[in-house]
Symmetry: D2
Subunit: 284 residues, 4 copies
């Protein structure tokens, strides 16, 4: 990885910490958990999610408003209306928001109401988008491409950093393989390698990797034990009614249970999880 | 492929023919061969290429001016200056031009001087780009993603067609696999399948698939025998001096030999190749 | 491939020709076509196949009597009874027989009534079997493993040769990939590479690669155009009644049509096919 | 997996426990760790390994005496002489022995001095070997094939069980993929799935998956957190002098550290590790 200059770990730069808010940072001692539905569907849906997850506790909310769908006839996301929902939920629950940017033209509007801009797997080597996001003033969640090598993934982060944005978090989300049992193969060896090669935080998305909700909790604990700095997990008030990726969404109760089960694993390797921080909201 | 409405073959629409110029069409009885360097480097380079290839004969020229490179520090292409070179060569040699579009912002300027807009493998599921190119008034060369299924490939074409552009040519260019001997694995089974499923022309890029120039001629003949409607092949006046993909570029002489060797194979399956059409240029 | 000593092509050893009978040899100017059912089911079945295929003409018959099946409860082949059928058909129709050897203990009995011993994909790195077959006095058809690299494939042939058997024919039969549309991905780039690296004949099995009968004819012609020395194709008197691999078996009529369509492709690259050799049988 | 009858989990058979000795069992509450070199090289080597590892504590020793090597010219293992070394070490250190069986003819001699018979990845679908091992009266360690689906892996275990041997332990050891950074991709999703589908114990071999020693400790902890019942790890007194797989072998000290680090992770998910059981040896 001779061309990886800015992302590689060095004696003087061992660890990047990316702040999503005053209270939430990825890459430090604490494991960060991001949760929420695949797709933003309504304000009610997002409020239900936020209310439950704040006590898990989950530290940030995810939810897509621009959706990369294989078919042009599939629901493409709520767009601006969805962004307004995210902005509202963000304000009411004081939780940072992560949402996907699919095009350069969306960066400004999404940056106005999200705390972290996600680059999806299909766009990991959309180099013009990487360059543009490199000039945005927001943390970036860069997902690994469906069949990207570790080197290509590292170099995609190098694109973003070389254009001026140092706040990049890498996300392993499963790679393509021959086995139809799981949707993708979660490559935790890549997580270990990325933590050794780069100074960037690395989180894991077990939902898209597994594609089956019954596999997600075990894989989440495995990811944390491997050294991942956090998790991003799909959950939904009524998984079977989700407009997309229903098969892999957890119920909100399962999500809470999962988050709680992560704590002892994190502590077993000398890390911590976030504690519930806002009792006043908990009371309300 | 339940959602593939516009691209699927039917009794009433068995075959789409995409015209690159008055003389060159892809998808008919004649095999089309597109040749040229990976990257446009200079007017001299492109003229040398065009002069040789017109007598192969090659029917269209390729050459990248916006280059998707793994590293941000690698040469990113000549950009507008390269487009001017392409425009000049197109005019002098009356050969259609194929070149890659990496961003929505480039469509207009590239459409002004190219005859076919290429969507590269890394952007096969850059859906916003597909939608925009679907509104462009130029033929599109859609390359299969590095690890895209046949269904995903078909649906990417469906995006373009559903936004209004019927002139889509599919290009198989090798998929990711475990074997380091070849750069990718050329999937001619996909070519056969795509010809059966869709009415769109399908061409093959053996250069990126093989990654080694000594494999390209045999794979080219194999592709034609499988039913491909054409080939897109990298060649260079001095392959070892190519600024990119040097290992897979043919010399111009080897390119001419390859093109000539395709003729009997095409005829063996009841098709034809283009004959040299412009003797006056041959004399000059 | 530093350890590949015996299989690599050299100035003094450019081409191995493997004789299946006095009349049939693989690796020379003539393309060899081997046909027959996945599994030997009855004498009637095999006679029907032989009668039809001799006039295609097909040069050798295939048919499994020991079958590698994913499930222990699936039909495991007729065993010795099947071998007797093969011996009978071989004698009556004077056609060489190719059948699979799954265990060292089967070599002697199979060698007694077959002309070529097949090592299946799952056993490509069953090294003890390779060593034993290296000591057998029969030609070997070595199929590429489901996910074997070209180097591993070459080294498996080296095992056989290093134990004394020079008559090895390599067979590309598709590799594992992520796309469910085809059963495997036929890797014709490997065929081209193997012809360049080794002096051994290389044939192609499009049936197991494609897994769908409608893809097989085009892939067969593609394989020949790429330089393959022959084909091994599954066909059955009543494909839908085949006890295994029904979806990929051709009808006998389709098989005859396929064989005939190969002739012009072979000639287009300067090779020939076998002509029908036994008019007396044709009359009978 | 309709044909998986004996291996599938049911209400009445939720969990198989496989005993390697009076003291060591795989599949219960306790995590089992198996360690040792890739290849048995000498009695001194194996004694050094056993002395160190008994205090890690490691519960069983691994070491190959019949080695599946890509090249016929590579060291093929010590054979019978190696088996005698294993027998000697087994007696002196009272540690169960795991070693690979490559051929039916080796089963008897290996069963006489080993406690667990390993079927290697390349032989996972060597069905005749599976049938024979199904009739052996020893526990079996069945490694997943290099590109085997979960269903094929489960069915290979079904072969062994259907021939009479109920003591099968599954081992995930990485699958083939496109990324050259790691040797294979450790598929912990398969571990989770296998624990849900079958009642068999599942262990993980991070050494062959990673191929790089610096990745192994993190992957080991990840595997345990995912629910694996144990680990099998390569280590060597002098890794760089190992006759095979040197790059992935741990030093004995690193192995001890790894084992100790597993304890809190096991406890975090409600399991335990084995404690040192033989103080008299510890004193000596």
């Amino acid at each position: 990885m001779k061309d990886a200059k800015l992302v590689v770990k060095s004696e003087s730069h061992r660890n990047t910490i990316v702040h999503l808010s005053d209270h939430v940072a990825i890459g430090g001692q604490k494991i960060v958990i991001i949760g929420g539905p695949c797709t933003v569907e309504s304000l009610t849906q997002m409020e239900t999610v936020a209310q439950h997850l704040q006590f898990a506790p989950v530290q940030a909310l995810r939810g897509g408003v621009y959706k990369p769908r294989t078919s042009p006839y599939a629901f493409q996301g709520m767009g601006l209306e969805g962004l307004e929902i995210l902005a509202e939920v963000r304000k009411r629950y004081e939780m940072p928001i992560v949402t996907e940017v699919m095009a350069i033209s969306q960066i400004e509007e999404i940056a106005a109401c999200a705390d972290m801009l996600q680059i999806g797997s299909r766009n990991m080597q959309n180099f013009d988008l990487l360059k543009a996001i490199g000039q945005a003033n927001k943390p970036v969640l860069l997902k690994r491409g469906l069949a990207s090598t570790i080197e290509e993934f590292v170099m995609a982060a190098e694109y973003i950093m070389s254009y001026g944005n140092p706040n990049v978090v890498l996300c392993e989300r499963g790679i393509r393989s021959f086995d139809p049992y799981t949707r993708n193969v979660l490559d935790l060896g890549a997580v270990v390698a990325l933590k050794q090669i780069t100074h960037l935080p690395v989180i894991v998305d077990p939902s898209h990797a597994a594609g089956k909700r019954e596999l997600i909790a075990d894989l989440s604990r495995g990811a944390i034990a491997c050294g991942a700095d956090g998790l991003i997990i799909e959950c939904h008030p009524e998984p079977d009614k989700s407009v997309s990726d229903a098969r892999q969404a957890l119920t909100l109760d399962d999500m809470v249970n999962l988050v709680r089960s992560v704590k002892p694993v994190a502590e077993a390797i000398g890390r911590q999880v976030y504690e519930i921080q806002r009792p006043q909201l908990a009371i309300a």
